[in-house]
């Protein structure tokens, strides 16, 4: 039996909160589910909360990097949030850099990182016009 990690959609962002110790096949399934959901919903951002993870080993690290890569190809940005300090220390010592993966300390900051992709084209143009007028 494989657990399924739920994916929530808020606005144009997909939110994933990993709450359990991930089995390798569960992690692979999440990767596929996310790719499918980005395409189906047209999401522009993916926020992955890993505050529930007690460890990030090379397999999980590779999964996070893959998700970021797949999202990028599908025109969505990924932010990983909530990494525990002991996990960060261990990951760096292990040799995992998570290069290419945006991170933020918590969900709130992560959403702020994704905020630009949440805006509609009209909003972006309006903001640019306002900046030009200042």
């Amino acid at each position: 039996m494989t657990d399924v990690v739920p994916i929530l959609k808020i606005g144009s962002t997909l939110l994933v909160s990993i709450q359990t110790d991930l089995q390798d096949d569960t992690a692979l399934r999440l990767q596929e589910d996310l790719a499918e959901q980005i395409t189906r919903t047209g999401a522009r951002g993916v926020l992955i909360d890993i505050s529930g993870l007690e460890i990030v080993d090379s397999f999980i690290g590779r999964m996070l990097a893959s998700i970021a890569g797949i999202s990028r190809v599908l025109d969505a940005a990924t932010v990983v949030v909530g990494m525990r300090p002991a996990v960060a220390i261990t990951m760096v010592e292990l040799g995992l850099s998570l290069g290419g993966v945006r991170t933020a300390l918590d969900v709130e900051r992560g959403l702020r990182v994704l905020a630009p992709v949440e805006q509609s084209p009209e909003e972006v143009l309006l903001a640019a016009a306002q900046r030009a007028g200042e």
């Binding site: 089995q23 460890i55 080993d57 090379s58 996990v87 040799g95």
Partner: protein, 138 residues
């Protein structure tokens, strides 16, 4: 391999993805009993996760023996990963960062060695692989 405890040694099979998760959880419990700091617990459990996955993926399955150990006033945790797989022909090469025999990142062995205090690997072609790791409380 039957899971069980004898003389304080916990023996667990490593034959499925779910077994790797069980090994992580059991080893986490032992690192807490041995009073390792949170960072050292995390390092040891991460190393155990890498090695258990190696046992499964490269060794074709095997088992883990884990226990709390003591030396004078110090307590520590020890875990031994054993498989009867194809073994490793060139251990020095296998211990190099980035070297991989499969699709991984090549950090499993070399990275785990950095996460623990004692790391002993014993392997030969056709003779399986045995990796022992130990970390101590401070």
């Amino acid at each position: 391999m039957r899971p069980g405890t004898a003389d304080g040694v916990l023996t667990m099979p490593v034959d499925t993805d779910a077994d790797v998760v069980k090994v992580r959880q059991a080893v986490r419990g032992l690192t807490q009993q041995a009073r390792l700091s949170l960072v050292d617990q995390t390092k040891f459990v991460t190393a155990a996760s890498e090695l258990a996955r190696n046992t499964l993926v490269h060794g074709g399955g095997g088992h883990v023996e884990a226990q709390v150990v003591s030396e004078g006033r110090r307590t520590g945790v020890r875990a031994v990963f054993v498989d009867d797989g194809p073994g490793i022909a060139d251990i020095d090469l296998a211990m190099t960062d980035g070297w991989t025999s499969g699709t991984g990142l090549g950090l499993g062995l070399s990275g785990s060695r950095r996460l623990v205090e004692r790391f002993v690997i014993d392997s030969a072609p056709g003779a399986g692989t045995r990796v022992e790791i130990v970390s101590w409380s401070r």
